[in-house]
């Protein structure tokens, strides 16, 4: 007879995947504590939070759904312009802008998802690249709306919740961006541990078996792509709002390439990869910028080459060791 206890074991095993690890809790406490710990670096922290959200978005489609993309900047830019234009012409309310940016980017994601679902990895890389280039050209051509190469000027933001004015030190900006990141992270975490998340992993692992298991591959991937696009749009909106400026740079190819590097550093497919990668990437950029600001591109190229040639394994084993040590510490502390 199948004992009740086996059901309980199955339930427990399924729960184990989505249980909050002490190290995770520690991570977020640290993230919020950073506000107090590094009061003079809040602008950098804000950039990190936004990049982390952007990377989280790519991780959702790359790490979980297995869709490669070289044009994720399309959604960042879409969100940034949508939020910027809303603030300039309609309302400066941050949350309205955030919603507008997510909706606009999500819509582009939904519309372009049929293009991305077909074909091999190579086709996907090219199509995503092409879509991003098209958006770049469009933003460049419609200068009357977007400001073209001069950028979108005159983005004025109202205080968050009518209370917290954006300031030049990035105090409000960091807490605002971090809160949005945290909230969207919670939702993403929920989604990846839901039946939808499970089916995305199935499609990534083996599309043939996934459809033989009853998973409608195309629709599930389209949904994931749209969600990820909306997340990238949120990152774009945050960028536009906290800098009160949007330039063509948000749609530039190097944004998409940087993002890949972020995910390569942090590792894809466990949600924290993008966050850890964003921290490492920005600190690295900051450090290098302090002695050779001009040739950052060279270094990023070198890192990409070295990572692919074999550095990735080294980094990841290091990250795992450190994470493992933290986990043991955390568990020890919890008991």
């Amino acid at each position: 007879m199948r004992a009740e206890s086996f059901d309980a074991r199955v339930r427990q095993a399924l729960y184990a995947n989505r249980r909050w690890h002490p190290a995770e809790i520690g991570f977020w406490i640290l993230a919020f504590a950073a506000y107090l710990l590094f009061p003079s670096h809040l602008l950098l922290l804000n950039e990190i939070a936004i990049l982390a959200l952007f990377a989280l978005s790519l991780d959702l489609i790359l790490g979980y759904a297995g869709i490669v993309s070289l044009g994720h900047a399309a959604f960042l830019g879409m969100g940034a312009y949508a939020a910027g234009l809303l603030a300039k012409h309609v309302t400066g309310d941050p949350f309205a802008g955030l919603a507008c940016g997510m909706a606009a980017a999500g819509l582009v994601g939904l519309l372009t998802s049929p293009l991305v679902l077909r074909g091999s990895d190579l086709t996907r890389l090219m199509v995503t690249l092409g879509v991003a280039l098209i958006l770049y050209e469009l933003a460049n051509s419609f200068g009357s709306l977007t400001g073209g190469a001069d950028g979108l000027q005159g983005v004025m933001m109202k205080p968050v919740l009518g209370q917290f004015e954006f300031d030049i030190f990035g105090r409000t900006a960091y807490l605002y961006s971090l809160s949005v990141l945290f909230l969207l992270f919670l939702i993403a975490r929920r989604v990846v541990h839901s039946p939808v998340g499970l089916s995305l992993r199935a499609v990534r692992d083996n599309p043939l078996r996934a459809s033989a298991s009853g998973v409608p591959n195309g629709r599930r991937l389209a949904a994931a792509y749209t969600l990820a696009a909306a997340y990238a749009g949120a990152a774009g909106a945050l960028l536009a709002q906290t800098t009160q400026f949007v330039s063509l740079d948000v749609l530039d190819f190097h944004r998409s390439a940087d993002l890949m590097l972020v995910l390569i550093i942090g590792g894809a497919g466990y949600l924290y990869g993008g966050l850890i990668g964003a921290i490492a990437f920005k600190l690295l950029q900051d450090a290098i910028a302090s002695f050779t600001p001009q040739y950052w591109m060279f270094w990023i190229g070198l890192f990409l080459v070295l990572f692919v040639l074999g550095g990735r394994e080294i980094i990841h084993s290091a990250v795992k060791t450190v994470a493992g040590r933290f986990a043991r510490l955390g568990r020890g502390g919890a008991r």
Binding site: R11, V196, G197, S199, R209, S211, A212, R220
Partner: protein
């Protein structure tokens, strides 16, 4: 007996090659039916059309009386047509538990719910546990599939197909490549499938076919060469010729 799965005048050609040639085939409800034939006879092409991996050139397929010729793969699964693959098609990074839970959750229509927690779904937990026990995967449900022995992986193939609660189950060479030591457990699994599931076994291994099947269809060059009980097939000169012909090549 009533009919579970039927094909009418099914044809498939690739370029100039005819892989399936006017096949009329009937699978009775609750049947233990084997589809045999030499290499290149078109068995896998036939199965791929049944499950929607390939589109037939002409003809139609019905499942429980419903025309499914134009349905997508996943729609066929939802209507009760599940399959295993000749070469393992598993979710390598998942555990057996996750794989069975996935199929179960899709069957229960949970697949599109983004905020539901798997462990809080009593129905899902119960049915997942049931499958894991039935296929003797309970003691290794937490290990990554890629690390399990090959025989166990074949077992998971069948478990995952069965988790879709099929009315028709297509087993594509379930014992292919399984070492002797693990073979017995696998054959027991196949033998223990419940009677109300109609099973079509595609197999090379005559030993397994004759032990399992109550009815056999022989496919040669994409055409049905003969059909009947195992005894009739063993006596049929045309079938023997087809097989003897092959064995000289192998």
């Amino acid at each position: 007996m009533s009919v579970a799965l039927q094909t009418f005048d099914l044809c498939k050609s690739f370029g100039g090659i005819t892989a399936t040639d006017h096949v009329d085939f009937t699978l009775e409800k609750g049947a233990r039916h084997a589809l045999i034939g030499p290499n290149g006879a078109g068995k896998t092409t036939f199965v791929n059309q049944l499950t929607g991996v390939l589109k037939p050139s002409s003809g139609c397929i019905t499942l429980m009386g419903e025309d499914i010729t134009k349905l997508t793969r996943e729609a066929r699964v939802q209507r009760g047509l599940a399959r295993t693959f000749q070469i393992n098609q598993l979710f390598a990074t998942m555990t057996p538990l996750e794989m069975v839970a996935l199929v179960t959750s899709e069957r229960l229509g949970r697949g599109s719910q983004p905020f539901r927690a798997l462990d809080l779904d009593a129905e899902l937990v119960e049915q997942t546990a049931e499958i894991l026990t039935r296929f003797r995967l309970d003691d290794m449900m937490d290990r990554t599939i890629a690390t399990l022995p090959y025989g166990k992986q074949r077992q998971i193939e069948i478990a995952a197909a069965f988790a879709a609660r099929p009315t028709v189950l297509l087993l594509d060479e379930p014992a292919a490549g399984v070492p002797e030591a693990e073979r017995r457990e696998l054959m027991q699994t196949v033998a223990e499938l419940p009677d109300d599931v109609s099973v079509l076994l595609i197999e090379h291994d005559m030993d397994l076919v004759f032990r399992f099947a109550t009815r056999i269809t022989v496919l040669v060059n994409g055409r049905v060469l003969a059909e009947g009980t195992p005894e009739e097939m063993a006596r049929d000169p045309a079938v023997r010729a087809a097989y003897l012909g092959e064995s000289t090549h192998v």
